[in-house]
Symmetry: C2
DNA sequence: AAGCATTTTGCAACCGGTTGCAAAAATGAT
DNA sequence: ATCATTTTTGCAACCGGTTGCAAAATGCTT
């Protein structure tokens, strides 16, 4: 079907090596030869087979992009940034959607079968062990949005979720709330656990402030709404640190429907600062997660690892900051 | 680095063909042989190189998934469905993000270099010519969410946007509005053009109803909000058919901020029925686009084409339907 | 136990490229 | 024009698999 190197060589009346060399940069070819080959290639509509060459070069320029977050709008931004960033460096994202049913082992195997040069795990909910499976298989891996650790086993790029929890608590404290709560995402997500830890660690410094907590079933609108409806039905706190922005928006919807006002009756602070958070009809106060930087840095790290596979694992942590909008009452 | 077929063969004390055969189903291998090989493979941690085998079989099981919609939340649902659907059939999505800057030619070339078995173009804004470029390059292609044509040049799966425009117009007419408008997405998107055509064709049957139209710059919240603010500043219509749901939500935000009520002062009907449309704080009346069916059907069509490359191009069009929620006043 | 049909196995060529090495060609110095 | 040096080119082996074909092994019949 497709035109091969051999055909071009025959047409140009040169050896196959010569053709190969004109298409690999850095190889030694005379101008005359190059012109001859390029002419023949053009006439035949030849373009080299990247997969065949990967056999000898050992490089496919394929990068596995693994995620299980196909329901959180922020990940559309993440995929956008990743695909563009990788493309710009001549790398190709092979997308893997890790659902609850898919066997993690199977995806490791599959990505190895396709000889990906590296793997980016983009998820804030997967345990560190998942990314480690790739490392153990000898595949360079970066865990983006992964759990921060002072002794990382694999490269991690993300934020310090414990610190974010602390920051949220401090923000609420500064607003003078006397009863506040943590409404987390799924309890088994590492990001939920860490944010919870940080939040609580700060609150223990303020025993006078009443603190409660609960967890939603998922990082989703429905889960946030459902949980907030339940909380309102009991006796709600004055302000909530919600697991993330989608959850916050679900909570806001519940509050609105219960004829309570934001921020007067209940205050909300989210986390992520996704595009939607600044939509005027949402106007969510939230903690900004610098996803652009995280993605860029992840890609840089990946590129660095391709050249230096045994690079010592490092954690790259980016600072977050509170974005003041309309869902928290002003400081007294 | 990785374990190869040859090593397994040596360890098991058999020929390379034998190893190859145990890993290709349908090949003739005795049980004894299979056990021997599998044992050796297990001990060595061998898994076959999919790319190397593609060289001889001519199949990579790689499917290019090309899109330029990385800002519309509905496409996260689309990517979710596509990746899962493809995975379930043993196919791997190679994601291509087509930005304004990327040369379409280049992506065609790139996907050919990676010998993808087929390409899915998932976009409602790309011209049919783009998908055709793949067909001309001899690559099976399906254009999902593409423009409906009675004489399609490539396989198209989607909706009849003209019909949707008509349906929107009819819905507004039935509500007894006397001044209504079309607020489209970007004017050069085929979906915008078709919805406009349909909308207008219906309105010409009702010369008594005042009809106006305008276009937003993109299918985005900001564009919708901006355009609606502009319209409100002039003299707004009683009801709008907005290009899609995100645009509608932007419009809703503008209306709210202008202290006008929905649906009393201004009615809105969107298109897509994305997840967010049913969020209680949005509650958008919209035209449901059956994306699940479109994606499923696209994948089925792709699989069919892999077995029968010269399949005659067909258009698969799925019916849409109005989903009544809270942004249009009830019929009189 | 021999004869035949059937299944299993290995050989070797091939898929579409790359690359080390040595021969050939071009360049430069004298 | 000669020779040493550098650059360019082709040969041939290899990357990790698959597959048609013929030989070897097995199963079945009588």
């Amino acid at each position: 079907m497709a035109v091969t190197l051999k055909e071009v060589a025959e047409r140009a009346g040169v050896s196959r090596s010569a053709v190969s060399r004109t298409f690999t940069d850095g190889a030694s070819v005379s101008d005359k030869m190059r012109r001859k080959v390029e002419k023949a290639a053009r006439e035949l509509g030849y373009s080299p087979n990247a997969l065949a060459s990967s056999l000898t070069t050992g490089r496919t320029k394929l990068i596995g992009l693994v995620s299980n977050n196909f329901h959180n709008p922020i990940f559309l931004e993440v995929f956008d940034l990743f695909t563009r960033g990788l493309q710009d460096r001549g790398l190709r994202p092979l997308l893997v959607n890790l659902t609850d049913e898919t066997d993690p082992e199977a995806s490791v195997r599959m990505l190895r079968q396709y000889s990906v040069d590296g793997v980016v795990v983009a998820s804030s909910t997967l345990p560190p062990g998942f990314a480690k499976a790739f490392r153990d298989a000898g595949v360079p891996v970066v865990h983006s949005f992964g759990r921060y650790s002072s002794a990382p086993q694999v490269h991690v790029v993300g934020i310090d979720n414990v610190e974010c929890g602390r920051m949220a608590a401090q923000t609420l404290i500064a607003r003078g709330y006397t009863h506040m709560a943590f409404m987390g995402g799924p309890e088994d997500a590492t990001s939920t656990q860490d944010r919870f830890t940080g939040f609580m660690s700060e609150m223990t410094k303020h025993p006078d402030i009443q603190t409660t907590y609960s967890f939603a079933e998922a990082y989703s609108f429905d889960a946030g709404r459902k949980e907030m409806l339940r909380l309102i039905d009991a006796s709600p706190a004055q302000a909530y640190f919600c697991g993330d922005d989608v959850l916050s928006i679900g909570a806001l919807s519940a509050i609105e429907d219960s004829n309570l006002r934001v921020p007067e009756d209940i205050g909300i602070i989210g986390l992520n600062d996704m595009e939607m958070a600044r939509w005027e009809n949402i106007d969510l106060t939230t903690i900004h997660q610098p996803i652009r930087q995280i993605v860029t840095s992840s890609i840089e790290l990946m590129v660095a690892m391709l050249n230096e596979p045994d690079r010592y694992p490092e954690a790259r942590i980016f600072p977050c900051s509170v974005v003041e909008r309309g869902t928290l009452r002003p400081a007294p």
